[in-house]
């Protein structure tokens, strides 16, 4: 059983590899002999450990040290509300907390072992620590209510990472995603288990500053949600980076963002991955087109797809084991398929994502998935991004309306042109009743467009 540290290999193999934070960096070869936990690793062995750091680099170091040592790692995303923290700690049976900040002001943590985590490494002796397979617990990015906690095995988390592919020593990864969420964690694991380095973003820095650091470290492989990318492409520094590989995941990649990335980065391979905390990494689409080939459904293989009740369902060794404290049946059907709640529609030889089941807008009894409408609006060359939301109507119950961010100043014909695009490709009830031009749209901490449905 291999843990992350084992993959760092010999001193020579890990030399020249770094984790770069916004303010400081750590050499992976130093991590072979140093500790971010002040030599207290042994106290955490076999325990259920909550990693709740402010800084992403501290979290990265703690995860590397604790994998294969802790019984369970509960990874606290940066935006977890302190209101939810006591319930997370209780449900996940947390016995110890690793943090880079003073948590004394939160009484609910009292009595549990607290270990400081620092990006300043100290010498540490690891010889006497027992080894075990660590369970990883990831929190979903639900916009309302308590987050769901999903248990993954390390084998499941890393099952989609193939040796050889994107793994050269010259690979420098970047992720707009925080590594404490599933999408970002995939990038972190690709970087540390391969032979590359990783440039971590920071919640305190603008996309402009992060892009500058990506350029400074000559990042080659960069990942983010379509919303992250739309925002990044608004930055003057977007043309200063020259990635070989651009990855999108976490939201529907529409044709407009794929085309825009293609024109910004003609030299890059551009892929959109389908992944979720529950279902794991499903597949990656690399043909430059939105949606995915229908041939993937029912094809068998390591990742099996089926469509039932309109939604995509996945069975694979990469899915989570289950929710914390619940059986497998809460997560998957009797055959082991996880319902992603992402609604797909076959058209020709491809499937297209319509949106989340929970995001449906009901217009006079007819369903509208906001994402489907946004994808059409985003085709207008002057549209940067859009949000389609419900608006109450005394006649039809709801209507759809659109908030649109433009690349530049609005021109008198834009609304008419956008509506024409919608009329050409959408049923009438899906066409926005009104279009409003707004300066920005909220992107939630998880990098996804902030939607207000329950």
């Amino acid at each position: 059983m291999k843990a992350i540290r084992d993959a760092l290999g010999s001193a020579s193999a890990s030399s020249g590899r770094f984790l770069w934070g916004a303010n400081t960096s750590v050499s992976l070869s130093d991590l072979r002999i140093g500790s971010s936990l002040g030599g207290r690793l042994r106290e955490l062995a076999g325990r259920s450990v909550l990693v709740a750091t402010r800084d992403q680099l501290s979290a990265a170091l703690a995860l590397i040290e604790l994998d294969g040592v802790a019984h369970r790692l509960v990874i606290c995303p940066p935006d977890l509300s302190s209101d939810h923290l006591p319930a997370v700690i209780h449900k996940a049976g947390v016995e110890a907390i690793v943090s880079d900040r003073d948590l004394d002001d939160q009484g609910s943590l009292g009595g549990r072992l607290h270990v400081d985590c620092s990006v300043a490494l100290t010498q540490a002796d690891r010889a006497q620590v027992d080894r075990r397979a660590t369970e990883w617990v990831l929190l979903t990015s639900g916009t309302t209510g308590a987050p769901k906690m999903l248990v993954h095995s390390f084998a499941a988390l890393t099952a989609s990472i193939k040796g050889g592919q994107n793994q050269g020593a010259e690979v420098v990864w970047g992720t707009f995603y925080d590594i404490r969420r599933y999408g970002g964690l995939q990038i972190f694991l690709r970087a540390v288990l391969g032979h590359g380095s990783l440039v971590l973003s920071s919640a305190d820095e603008s996309s402009e500053d992060y892009l500058s650091r990506l350029r400074a470290h000559a990042a080659t492989h960069i990942s983010g949600t379509p919303s992250h990318w739309r925002r990044a492409l608004m930055s003057p520094s977007a043309r200063a980076i020259a990635p070989h590989y651009v990855r999108l995941s976490g939201e529907i990649a529409d044709q407009a963002i794929l085309n825009t990335l293609r024109s910004f980065y003609p030299q890059a391979a551009i892929g959109h991955a389908y992944a979720s905390t529950e279902a794991g990494v499903g597949f990656e689409v690399t043909d430059g087109l939105e949606g995915f080939p229908a041939s993937l459904v029912g094809a068998g293989g390591e990742v099996e797809l089926k469509v039932e009740g309109g939604s995509l369902r996945i069975r694979s060794p990469r899915t989570a084991l289950g929710y914390v404290g619940e059986g497998r049946s809460a997560l998957m059907d009797a055959e082991g398929f996880v319902d992603t709640d992402d609604i797909v529609e076959p058209r020709g030889d491809r499937y297209y994502f319509l949106g989340r089941r929970s995001g449906i807008i009901n217009v006079g009894g007819l369903k509208v998935y906001p994402e489907e409408v946004e994808a059409v609006i985003n085709r207008h060359p002057s549209v940067r991004m859009s949000l389609v939301r419900p608006r109450r109507s005394p006649i039809t119950g709801s209507l759809v309306v659109a908030d649109v961010v433009l690349n530049g100043e609005p021109e008198p014909d834009f609304k008419r042109e956008i509506l024409r695009l919608c009329h050409e490709s959408l049923a009438t009830h899906k066409i926005p009743a009104t279009i409003r031009f707004v300066p920005t749209l909220d992107v939630a901490a998880a990098g996804k467009l902030a939607r207000q449905h329950a």
Partner: protein, 90 residues
């Protein structure tokens, strides 16, 4: 009877928005006379819902939601009066 400037302008806005929606939906409408029955105009209930939403945006009025006791206007003339009266009672 004297028609106030405000009532005239509301009528013009309603007519303009109806024509706009018809153009977007590529529909040809009959002459927009006061006694035209709305649902015979070629605009379906969805189009009327869109009209109401746009009128709220341009006029700041939604008499359907603001009034507790709605008698749904059947003719175009009644529809326009509905908005004119709502504006007058503001």
């Amino acid at each position: 009877m004297q028609i106030s400037e405000e009532r005239r302008s509301i009528k013009a806005t309603v007519i303009w928005q109806i024509n706009q929606i018809a153009e977007e939906e590529r529909k040809t409408l009959p002459p927009l006379a006061d006694d035209l029955v709305l649902l015979d105009s070629g605009l379906d209930s969805l189009a009327i819902a869109v009209l109401v939403a746009r009128l709220e945006e341009t006029l700041g009025l939604d008499p359907f939601t603001e009034s507790d006791d709605i008698a749904y206007p059947v003719t175009l003339g009644a529809f326009i009066r509905f908005y004119q009266d709502a504006a007058g009672s503001k």
